[in-house]
């Protein structure tokens, strides 16, 4: 098997010790990073509080651009949340063994990214204290949310995605948490005992566990498609030029996986180095992830070109105008950032030499992250700024408050991830053991240390 050829340079016995080393007492560098993250989060919180106090006017949002950086951030973070479930569920169903070393951290990233995305509707509504009005519930005044609005579909889609991803993540953690439980002491032992739900490594439990895991993988797979499709319909079902496109759903899904995979790599390369996990996270894993980026990046480029072709072919003056303006108009820089970072820079990955050079790969993935943020900005802002009637056109410039909140959102995401790596194994012990050569003597041979 390819996986055997590429991956196995560790022994069965050292897996638990090596991987659980990430849970040990943090080193000063960890605290330093955490302090920077909390400081950035503070900027975000302060910016939001300022906006709450002063009103939405402090954001750059105004007629006609009512959706700006906040919705850009929202779509960006929902997109980042796609890689986890893709790796956990779809690659599981495809029996891609290379997912074993990376799926746990990618899944965690999904949860945190969706948590981050979920902040933005709250931030964007302005009067956050009445955000609960968004929830449909029977009431005496018979006021209902608009079920025909894709924004409401989004609420349901993202909640479903978050729920299933979180359950999937927790189920995947059970055997590993049980393994930590067996080694932990004191309060930690009590917490992990509770979280492991009585898992005792028996054959009976494993049988049910594996069946349940497969079931959740099958359930989560369509959600990978549905969530960003629904997000895309926030735009596409309108008749705003540049938004109203049948292609949006698969185009957004591919873009989401593209950006999600890039973020996974951006995080895993330093993570691997900091925790000395080179023998578990090999060049081969990054090569495989890069190939997935090449695939989804190609779909994204195909979609960009198709959009332009169809706008040109349509003979619709409004469509043609918007797409012309994106390239040559006031929002040219976001367009160039989008196209350059998402279509041109990833071409470097077609060189095996470059994509297996982790320093180069890391830089490329950062470019992709930037490019995907600008893609959303480009779509959202350019179409709203110059809709049908020239009299209503307007120029949007993000304010420092929006930038502050954006910085805060990144720090919020990284804060969760940094907490996660100190409390849970960032690689799945059990699945790493599945691909290692099993021990043939001792207790482990009888399944006493199955996890």
């Amino acid at each position: 098997m390819d996986v055997k050829i590429h991956e196995i340079n560790f022994s069965y016995g050292e897996i638990t010790k090596d991987i659980l080393r990430t849970l040990e007492k943090p080193r000063p560098t960890y605290w330093l990073m955490m302090a920077m993250i909390v400081a950035g989060l503070g900027i975000g919180v302060a910016s939001w509080m300022y906006q709450i106090k002063e009103g939405m006017g402090v954001a750059g949002l105004n007629h006609p651009v009512g959706w700006g950086v906040y919705i850009t951030d929202f779509v960006f973070w929902v997109g980042i949340g796609h890689a986890g479930t893709l790796i956990s569920a779809i690659l599981f169903l495809f029996r891609a063994k290379w997912r074993n070393a990376i799926f746990r951290s990618a899944e965690a990233m999904t949860i945190f990214a969706v948590l981050t995305a979920a902040l933005f509707p709250l931030i964007h509504v302005g009067r956050v204290w009445v955000a609960w009005w968004l929830i449909p519930y029977p009431n005496q005044r018979e006021l209902w949310v608009n079920f025909r609005s894709p924004l409401l579909w989004d609420v349901f889609a993202i909640n479903t995605y978050f729920s299933v991803s979180a359950i999937f993540f927790c189920i995947g953690l059970i055997p590993d948490v049980a393994a930590i439980r067996d080694k932990a002491k004191g309060m930690r032992k009590k917490i992990y005992t509770f979280m492991s739900l009585g898992f005792d490594n028996s054959n009976h439990q494993w049988r049910h566990y594996m069946a349940g895991y497969g079931f959740f993988a099958a359930l989560a797979t369509p959600l990978v498609l549905s969530v960003h499709s629904v997000v895309s319909w926030d735009f596409a079902v309108s008749i705003v030029p540049g938004w109203h496109s049948t292609l949006f759903a698969p185009y957004f899904v591919a873009g989401a996986v593209f950006s999600g995979m890039a973020m996974v790599i951006t995080i895993l390369i330093p993570f691997r180095s900091i925790f000395n996990l080179e023998k578990y996270l090999t060049i081969w894993h990054f090569d495989m992830m890069s190939r997935l980026i090449m695939l989804t990046g190609s779909i994204v480029t195909y979609s960009y070109l198709t959009e332009y072709f169809i706008a040109w072919y349509s003979d619709d003056v409004f469509e043609i105008f918007i797409f012309h303006e994106r390239v040559f108009g006031k929002y040219q820089i976001p367009f160039l950032m989008m196209f350059g970072c998402n279509c041109v820079v990833p071409l470097l990955l077609w060189s095996r030499k470059l994509r297996t050079n982790l320093k180069v790969l890391w830089v490329i993935t950062i470019f992709i992250n930037i490019g995907m943020w600008f893609e959303r900005f480009n779509i959202i802002v350019s179409s709203l700024a110059q809709e049908y009637d020239p009299f209503s056109w307007g120029w949007y410039v993000p304010s420092w408050v929006e930038f502050g909140v954006t910085i805060g959102s990144f720090c919020w995401f990284f804060m969760w991830f940094f907490l996660f790596i100190k409390f849970f194994p960032s690689m799945a012990l059990t699945e790493m053991k599945e691909i290692a050569d099993p021990p043939v003597t001792g207790d482990a041979a009888h399944g006493k240390e199955a996890a």
Binding site: M1, D2, P222, L225, S229, W233, A236, V237, S238, I239, H244, S245, T246, L247, F248, A249, P250, S298, Y302, T306, E307, F309, I310, W312, Y313, S314, D315, V317, I320
Partner: protein, 445 residues
């Protein structure tokens, strides 16, 4: 299934030698070709006022079988690009579908004669001043593009096939020099296999890029431009995805029949059929997803120039029953039945489902083409056949007559497809015997 291991496949396959197509099979193919192309010839060139019936059938079948052939090849290319083991035993069966593309080239070249009968835009002499279509939809330019798209598929596909079949032919010759011709410049299996695998992988990547691009452009040019006021950005993507669905579903049937014909079924384990079933099932869902994603956006936007395309198919009594049949056949039945693992495990149970899916995709192509080509001027509500000097088809309430002509012509295309398929497969080892991943593919349980 027993856990015995097969290691004899190189000897067994190479000992078979090139096969001959049976006389009866050839006769059946010849008869199908005669019926199909006689029908096309009669309607397209001899009937007065019904030329369009012949050309609709020709366009429809050219499109369906070209995409089926291209998709067969892309399934093999996908196996190579993804380095998968599961389908190695059936990779050659998939590759053989690509041979039809040569005939496709001839068909799209011939299609140039039917432009005026099919495409309303070919009659427009004065386009609006700002129109980009005025330049894009010019008969000569349009025709050249169609030839180009198919030619690209042929060239890239042939290069992929060349590097896929070469080491197998060479290895078979090494094993049985009496049966197989030598391969020119053969440097021995050890050197050739590694070299050819690398080249094959490279061309597989090129084909995987060429396929969506060329098929998308064919979809926009050949089908979408029939109703040239209408456009859907997803149309190209949807069409090539549907083509891949036909690639998997046809492979279920081909594998079953060819496995038996060449007595290699023992190497094709049940999980292979299970995997083919799962891929067919998966693409069935993707088909519906992409359809829904298009319909929702158009329905919600409710713009006249977009919604008309759907209304024609969903509400016009002439087309509605066929549109429903397409939904049932491509999605609903294969989806419900495909949920069963048991049904997917065997070609005898999943084969009929795959066949249903294939036929329904054929009908789907029909429902995309015929209503657009049938209406000459939707804005005025005048049918093409209501033009002076032709019979008044505006009174038609059923699409049966159009479908019957299509089915007759389809017979001819099926005959050519079968002939081209056998011409390729029967002259080469029926399994990729030199492939290093074949062993894993054979010995999986």
């Amino acid at each position: 299934m027993g856990h015995h291991h097969h290691t004899d496949y190189v000897d067994v396959v190479s000992a078979k030698g090139p096969a001959k197509v049976g006389g009866a099979t050839l006769a059946v193919f010849a008869l199908m070709i005669l019926i199909g192309f006689s029908a096309f010839g009669y309607f397209a060139f001899l009937s007065e006022g019904k030329e369009r019936l012949g050309w609709i059938a020709f366009l429809h079948n050219t499109y369906f079988f070209t995409l089926l052939s291209a998709a067969g090849l892309v399934t093999a290319a996908i196996m190579q690009v993804t380095r998968s083991h599961w389908g190695r035993t059936i990779k050659r069966f998939a590759e053989a579908s690509g041979n039809f593309l040569w005939f496709s080239l001839l068909c799209v070249a011939l299609l140039g004669l039917g432009i005026e009968h099919l495409y309303e835009w070919s009659h427009i002499t004065e386009w609006p001043s700002h129109s980009n279509k005025a330049g894009w939809l010019q008969s000569g330019f349009w025709w050249g593009r169609q030839v180009l798209w198919v030619a690209v598929l042929v060239v890239v596909g042939q290069m992929f096939l060349k590097w896929s079949t070469r080491p197998d032919m060479g290895l078979a010759h090494e094993k049985n020099p009496d049966l197989w011709n030598s391969v020119s410049g053969w440097r021995g299996a050890a050197t050739e296999i590694e070299d050819c695998q690398a080249k094959q992988s490279k061309w597989a990547v090129f084909y995987c890029i060429a396929f969506p691009v060329c098929v998308s452009m064919m979809a926009y040019d050949m089908i979408m431009s029939l109703d040239f006021r209408w456009f859907s950005a997803m149309f190209g993507g949807w069409n090539f995805t549907t083509a891949i669905l036909t690639g998997w579903s046809s492979l279920v049937l081909i594998t079953y029949f060819m496995g038996q014909r060449f007595e290699v079924s023992k190497y094709i384990s049940k999980p292979v059929f299970h995997d083919l079933g799962k891929l067919t099932f998966g693409f069935t869902i993707v088909w519906c997803y992409l359809l829904f994603a298009q319909v929702l956006v158009i329905w919600y936007g409710n713009l006249p120039h977009e919604a008309g395309f759907l209304l024609t198919r969903f509400q016009d009594p002439m087309w509605q029953p066929w549109a429903i049949a397409v939904f049932l056949g491509v999605f609903l039945f294969p989806f419900i039945l495909g949920l069963s693992k048991h049904l997917k495990m065997s070609p005898t149970t999943f084969g009929p489902i795959a066949l249903l899916s294939l036929c329904a995709v054929w009908l789907e192509r029909f429902i995309l083409i015929a209503p657009s080509a049938w209406y000459f001027n939707r804005e005025k509500g005048v049918y093409w056949s209501a033009l002076p000097g032709t019979e008044n088809a505006a009174e038609a309430t059923s699409a049966i007559s159009i479908i019957l002509v299509d089915m007759l012509v389809a017979l001819g295309f099926m005959g050519v497809f079968g002939l081209m398929y056998t011409m390729f497969l029967y002259k080469r080892p029926v399994m990729v015997i030199s492939d290093p991943r074949l062993d894993m593919g054979v010995n999986r349980h």
